[in-house]
Structures are given as structure tokens and as C-alpha cells.
């Protein structure tokens, strides 16, 4: 029964992961090529290194291959005259115009494009930049309206040929970037990042370890503290402390976590107020084993854990309290009460066991909460974990790392759902008896 559950979840997971990965790959590789072109343009100093750089880049990322298994393109893709707009050339021409502020250079370049035999691949684009020297210190002449008018009138064609409205479907087979990337992925090789040429495997592994230290601590804190607080508040329902705690939990849920993080840093780490905890990062790690290094970095971990867990704590507390209250209104509690059991005994023996189900349905939600909270918390506290890796790779446009992270997050979400399914199976005897 359990195996069937796991298999079913897995079978739904694989096509959806494939779809998301292909979508991200499509969007990301486009942006990667643009970014790459603009980077090569800006490095105008030594042209002798270019061939080697291009070869290395292309070997790693296979940019000369088509993108996906099939191609759905304009009929006149690659035919500049009929197409009437220059796909990558437009950026190159615009940059050339703004940097050199000289229309004659741009006309030279366009003649060069038209005269040579063109294949729209990055190798050709970059090679074509070679004979033209870009000036080092020319400013972006964006306010020169004459130049812009010239650009708009001469370079853009106002007639769109009717054959442009047709499209062409091309089947690429397995000789494409996506297939290569996926086959490398299945064998366990995630590639190299663009920013620093390190292996992504190592990067992800260390970042995941660092994030897990905080996430596991915060998960323990959330569930233990949330459930025990709900239990206590339910038991001493009519006292003042319970009402105050209730309102306090509700109030806490509304605080944005980056604000709380900054306030905690201000209060606890600067010498102005209190100086209890260190603020950023992990400090020096002298121990080698995992447990000892975690214990050594414990002062660094406390503040991020609080920031990660307070929101989910409020959620678990509210749901647990709601579950306890709705359970206590049912018939069997009345029966137990009339039999003579005290509230304490009923709580422990009956209500708690039945109230677990709404909380289990929260488990997957809390996984996601902790993952998405860790983006901001790790960014603020400068902890080298998964969240910081995501935000850094987004800000630096490091796409291979981003694909690996998307895969990691979908696997994480999937495992969260799987965990909640397994917990349901474990706690509910009715599911076990369904065999």
C-alpha cells in the first residue's frame, strides 16, 4: 500500500518536473545567450583570447546546438531581408551605435553582415565583431535624437512580408542542448556555474548542508513549540494568559520576516543595545565532524532560526487550536466526560490523536514556508545556504545553477507531499486497513 502511494506520487512527479525544467531551460538559455553576447561585446580589449573563450564556453554549454527537441519558428528565420527584423543583430547594432556614436561604422557593420554567409549561431555573431574596434570611452548617446531617428528610419523596415506569418516546425532529434543537459543530469553531473567555474554538485551540497542545519532546527522548534502552546492554551482556555498568547500569536503572523530580522540584528548584535549573538555568516569552523561543527556554530544559528520559524509557528498553533476545539465538540468527548474521565485524560488519549490530521496536511505547506522563508533570511544573515545561492545566482544571472536549484525545489516540494502522505498512512489506521 505504501509502495503504491510512493509509485503514484513519483509517476505524477516526473512529467511535471520535465515540463518545468524545459520551460525554465527555454527561458533561461535565451537570456543566457543575450547576456553572453553583451558580455563579449563589453570586453573589447584583447581579441586574441576570444577564440579560446568561445570554445570553452561552447564546449560547456553547447550553444551551437538547437535548443529543444523541436523548433517552432518563423518561416523566414535566418533570412534577414525577408524577415525584416534582426533577431540578435538588433542588440549588437544598437550597442555599436550607442557606444561609437558614429553611423558610418554601423553601416559598415551591416554591409559586412549582408556580404558574408551567415548562420545564426553565436560563433558567427562573435566572429563578426572582430574587424570593428569599439571605442573605449564613448558615452551612451541616448539623448541624441538625430541618431535615434536615423536608427529608426534606416534600420527598421516597415513592411512585414506575408510569408512571415507562417511558421515552420522542425524536429531536432536528440541533438539539442536540452537533451544533453538532461542526460548529464541523470548521470549525476549538474554542470558548471558560469560565474565561477566550479562544479555545481559541490556548491549545492555544501549549501544544502548549511541550510539543513537551520531548517531542521526551525522545523523542530515549530512543531514542538506550536503543538505544546496549542495544548496549553486549550487546557487553560479561560485564563488571561491564554487570551494574551492567542492575540500575540496572531500579531506575530503579520510581521514581515525581513523586518523582524533587521530588528533582531539591531537589538541583539550591535553594541548599542545588547551584544548577545554574532550577526553574520557562520564564523570559523574548526571542528570537522558534522555534529561538532553544528554545535560550534550554534550562536550563529539562533537568530536565523527564530526569523524562519515564527510565521509557521503561528500557523501551526492556529490550526492545532482549531483542531482541538472542533474535536472537543464531538459526541465521543461528551460520552467520555459523562463516563467520568477528566479533561486531561480525554486530551491525551482521544483528542490529540484525532487532531493530528489537519496538522499533517500542514506539513507540506510548512516545508514550502521554510524553503521560501530561507531566501530572505539567508540573504540578510549572510548564511551560505540554498536561499542565498538562489538570490545570488538570480542577481548574477547564473543560469545553470538556477536550473539545478529549480530541480532541487521541485524535488523538495515533492518530498514534502510524500512525507505528509506517509504520515497520514502512519497515523490513520483506516488507511492501513484498506488493503
Amino acid at each position: 500500500m505504501m509502495l503504491r502511494l510512493i509509485l503514484k506520487r513519483f509517476l505524477i512527479f516526473i512529467p511535471s518536473a520535465f515540463l518545468t525544467l524545459s520551460l525554465c531551460f527555454w527561458l533561461g538559455q535565451d537570456a543566457l545567450v543575450e547576456h553572453y553576447i553583451s558580455n563579449i561585446e563589453s570586453k573589447n580589449a584583447e581579441r586574441s583570447n576570444d577564440d579560446f573563450l568561445i570554445q570553452q564556453f561552447e564546449k560547456a554549454y553547447h550553444l551551437n546546438l538547437p535548443l529543444y527537441y523541436f523548433d517552432l519558428d518563423n518561416q523566414n528565420y535566418g533570412n534577414l531581408e525577408l524577415q525584416g527584423q534582426y533577431p540578435y543583430w538588433e542588440r549588437v547594432i544598437k550597442n555599436l551605435l550607442y557606444k561609437s556614436a558614429d553611423p558610418s561604422k554601423v553601416t559598415e557593420f551591416i554591409e559586412f553582415i549582408h556580404n558574408s554567409e551567415m548562420d545564426i549561431s553565436t560563433k558567427e555573431i562573435v566572429k563578426s565583431l572582430k574587424p570593428i574596434k569599439l571605442e573605449n570611452n564613448s558615452a551612451y548617446n541616448l539623448t541624441n535624437s538625430a541618431l535615434i531617428d536615423w536608427y529608426n528610419t534606416t534600420l527598421t523596415s516597415h513592411q512585414i512580408h506575408l510569408s512571415n506569418y507562417l511558421f515552420k516546425f522542425r524536429w531536432n532529434g536528440t541533438n539539442n542542448q536540452f537533451h544533453r543537459w538532461i542526460s548529464q543530469l541523470i548521470q549525476g553531473d549538474l554542470g558548471r556555474s558560469i560565474h565561477s567555474q566550479n562544479l555545481i554538485n559541490d556548491k549545492l551540497f555544501t549549501a544544502l548542508l548549511n541550510t539543513l542545519k537551520i531548517s531542521i532546527l526551525s522545523l523542530i522548534l515549530i512543531f514542538s513549540l506550536g503543538l505544546s502552546l496549542a495544548y496549553l492554551v486549550f487546557k487553560y482556555q479561560d485564563s488571561k494568559i491564554a487570551m494574551v498568547l492567542d492575540q500575540f500569536m496572531y500579531l506575530i503572523y503579520a510581521i514581515p520576516n525581513f523586518w523582524l530580522a533587521s530588528i533582531l540584528i539591531l537589538l541583539f548584535t550591535t553594541p548599542q543595545f545588547l551584544n548577545w549573538f554574532p550577526a553574520f555568516g557562520f564564523g570559523e569552523i574548526n571542528e570537522t565532524s558534522l555534529l561538532n561543527s553544528t554545535i560550534e556554530t550554534l550562536p550563529y544559528l539562533i537568530l536565523p532560526t527564530i526569523c524562519l520559524s515564527y510565521g509557521a509557528l503561528a500557523m501551526v498553533y492556529a490550526h492545532a487550536l482549531d483542531a482541538f476545539k472542533s474535536e472537543s465538540e464531538k459526541q465521543y468527548v461528551l460520552t467520555a466526560r459523562s463516563k467520568g474521565l477528566s479533561l486531561y485524560q480525554i486530551l491525551n488519549h482521544h483528542i490529540f490523536k484525532n487532531a493530528v490530521f489537519p496538522i499533517i496536511s500542514l506539513v507540506s505547506g510548512i516545508f514550502l514556508f521554510v524553503i521560501s522563508g530561507s531566501f530572505i533570511v539567508e540573504h540578510i544573515f549572510a548564511i551560505p545556504g540554498i536561499g542565498k545561492l538562489t538570490i545570488d545566482s538570480i542577481l548574477m544571472r547564473d543560469y545553470p545553477v538556477l536550473y539545478a536549484l529549480i530541480l532541487l525545489f521541485s524535488v523538495g516540494a515533492f518530498s514534502g507531499y510524500l512525507l505528509s502522505d506517509l504520515l497520514y498512512y502512519f497515523f490513520d489506521p483506516r488507511l492501513k486497513a484498506q488493503k
Binding site: L27, D30, A31, D73, Y250, Q272, S372, I380, I391
Partner: protein, 352 residues
């Protein structure tokens, strides 16, 4: 000692929301170059650079930031930022979520009965339109902003419409008015589950990284991610309402499905959906501040609550950058949530 009752909390929430709304609407009128406090959100006061502390004697009531921009003006103009963003997101959430929720809730037992020819021609028309505008004309994601682009969208619309009518006539002749049952409930459920699986903040950040988005596009993408809650509540409520006897009698009287939805179902689900929308509104304010904090978000004015908090994180001695925008964010989110929960408990207390 006064005990804080629930209605006091509700009154506090309403008053603070009213204050924030009026600050958002009337604040920029008072904070011009001409009036009492002559600081805009982006005026740079050279005399007050480098983090002046708040001083009641001077004109910068809440202090300045590194460049010299006033914090009070930033907070006031930030209200506009957050609320316009959230209103756009919430309206898109409402449109998508209401439509899909009603579709899956109302037709959950049998599915929608459509004429087969209409369905196929509709699919062909939509495919044709998207292929023509997004595949044929532009290449890749660089959609050209040239003068002819509007004309080409119009042309592709006309061609797809013509193709749709032609194929409708053709399929009518071929299939002879046969009906088809589309089980929308199952597919919309699967779609909702798959959208729920990935954290929405992550999807939002990655789509903003991959597509260069402006303010309105970000709000639309956020609206396209948060509709799941609305659709779920819609579906659950409609399934409850459909079991009532007045719907059955309306069907027996011969009312069409559309008029049943319009006259009976929509008024009854409006209250739970409103509660959910207020909650989503507060979440949108939070996400907008988060995006501006990270540095990825875009804004109407240059300054926003989140960006002020980001600056405060670097320079912790300037506590006024941290406290005042944070109070605004916290007050708006908290009062919206209190409002939503009070409405929720009101609907639960009244017997049907």
C-alpha cells in the same frame, strides 16, 4: 484595567486602515514641492544628506536616508506603491480564480456540455492566434516594440477569427452537432495541485529574473500565482450551495445556468471570497515589500517600503529607516488580517 475586547481590536484595525488609505490618497497632495512639507519622494535635499536623524524642529520629521530623501515622504508614497500593486494582483486573482472556481464547482458532477465543433474551432482559433503573434513574428523572447506590432496583432486576430468560423462550419458539417462533455473539474484540480507544489515566491523571483518585468507585469504574474485559494473556496462553497433546494427549483423553472450563477450563486459566495481576497491583499503587500527588499522588484516611484528597509539593513545606526516603514507594513498587513478574520467569524456565527 480595561480588557481588550474583540470589537476594540476591530475598531483599531478599521481606523488604522482608514488612516493608511487616506494617507495614500491625500498624502501626495500634501507632500509636494509647494506645500507645507516641501519634500517629494524623490527630492534630494543636499543639506540633509547622510542619514539625518528625525527632528521635530527641522522639516524632516522622520529623518532622511543616505542621499537626502525624506523618509516621511517615502512612507507616504510607498502606500501608493504597495496598494496599487496589490489591487492589480487581487483583481487578476479575482478574475482567474472566480472563473475557474465557478467552472469547476458548478459543473463538478458531469462536466461542461459543449458542442464539439465549437470546442475544436475554439482550440484552433487560440492556437492560431498564439502561434501567429508569439512564434511567427518575433523570434525568441525579444518582442519588438515597433510601430507595426499592433497592426500585426490585429491581423493575427482577424486571421484566427476567420479560421475559427471556417473550422466551425466545417466541423458542423462533419460532426453534425454532437455534444461533448469536458470534465473541467478534474483538470482544474490537477492544475491547482501542481501550482500549489512550488513556493510562489520562488516562481515569482525566477520569472522576474528570466523575463525583464516592469511593475504591472509583476503584479499580473503574482495574480496568476495566487488564484488557487480563491478557486478552492469558490468550488467548496458552490458545491455546498448546489445541494440546496432553491437551486433545484430554479432549474426546474427553466432558468439557464448563467442566470442561476448570476442571481443565486454569486451573491451567496461573495462573502467568503471577499474574506479570502482581503487575506490575499495583505499577502500581496508583503510580497511587494519582499521583492523591493531583495532588489528585484520594480516600483512606481523610486522608493518603496522594502527598499528603505534594505538600506536600513546595511546601516543599522539609522534606526528611523528601519522602524517607520516597518510600522507601516506591519499595520497595514495586521489590520487587513484582523478585518478578514472578523468578517470570517461574523459569517460563521450567523445561522443560515
Amino acid at each position: 484595567m480595561k480588557k481588550m475586547k474583540r470589537r476594540h481590536l476591530l475598531a483599531f484595525a478599521k481606523i488604522s486602515l482608514g488612516i493608511i488609505f487616506s494617507i495614500g490618497i491625500f498624502g501626495p497632495l500634501l507632500l509636494n514641492e509647494n506645500s507645507l512639507i516641501p519634500y517629494d519622494a524623490s527630492t534630494i535635499d543636499v543639506r540633509a544628506m547622510n542619514y539625518k536623524a528625525p527632528a521635530l524642529s527641522g522639516l524632516h520629521l522622520l529623518g532622511t536616508d543616505a542621499v537626502g530623501r525624506d523618509i516621511l515622504a517615502g512612507c507616504v508614497y510607498g502606500v501608493r506603491n504597495a496598494f496599487v500593486f496589490s489591487i492589480i494582483s487581487v483583481s487578476f486573482t479575482l478574475i482567474i480564480g472566480l472563473f475557474l472556481g465557478i467552472l469547476s464547482g458548478f459543473y463538478y458532477d458531469n462536466g461542461v456540455k459543449l458542442k464539439a465543433s465549437w470546442l475544436f474551432s475554439f482550440i484552433i482559433g487560440i492556437l492560431c492566434f498564439f502561434l501567429m503573434t508569439y512564434v511567427s513574428l518575433p523570434t525568441g523572447l525579444e518582442i519588438a516594440t515597433k510601430t507595426d506590432y499592433g497592426l500585426s496583432i490585429l491581423l493575427s486576430l482577424m486571421v484566427s477569427f476567420a479560421l475559427m468560423t471556417l473550422s466551425y462550419l466545417l466541423f458542423n458539417i462533419l460532426l453534425k452537432k454532437s455534444k461533448v462533455k469536458v470534465n473541467v473539474d478534474l483538470w482544474i484540480n490537477r492544475f491547482m495541485e501542481s501550482l500549489d507544489a512550488i513556493p510562489s515566491l520562488f516562481i515569482l523571483i525566477t520569472t522576474l529574473a528570466l523575463i525583464d518585468a516592469n511593475f504591472i507585469l509583476t503584479a499580473i504574474v503574482l495574480g496568476a500565482l495566487m488564484w488557487v485559494g480563491v478557486a478552492r473556496i469558490c468550488r467548496a462553497e458552490i458545491m455546498k450551495i448546489k445541494a440546496e433546494s432553491y437551486i433545484e427549483s430554479a432549474e426546474a423553472l427553466g432558468l439557464s445556468n448563467f442566470s442561476i450563477i448570476k442571481n443565486h450563486i454569486l451573491p451567496n459566495i461573495s462573502r467568503p471570497i471577499l474574506i479570502q481576497l482581503i487575506f490575499i491583499f495583505s499577502n500581496c503587500i508583503l510580497i511587494e515589500s519582499t521583492l523591493n527588499f531583495i532588489g528585484i522588484g520594480t516600483s512606481i516611484a523610486e522608493i518603496s517600503w522594502g527598499s528603505m528597509l534594505a538600506e536600513a539593513g546595511q546601516n543599522l545606526h539609522a534606526w528611523w529607516l528601519l522602524v517607520f516603514p516597518g510600522i507601516f507594513i506591519f499595520l497595514s498587513i495586521y489590520s487587513l488580517r484582523v478585518l478578514a478574520s472578523e468578517l470570517d467569524s461574523i459569517t460563521q456565527d450567523t445561522p443560515l
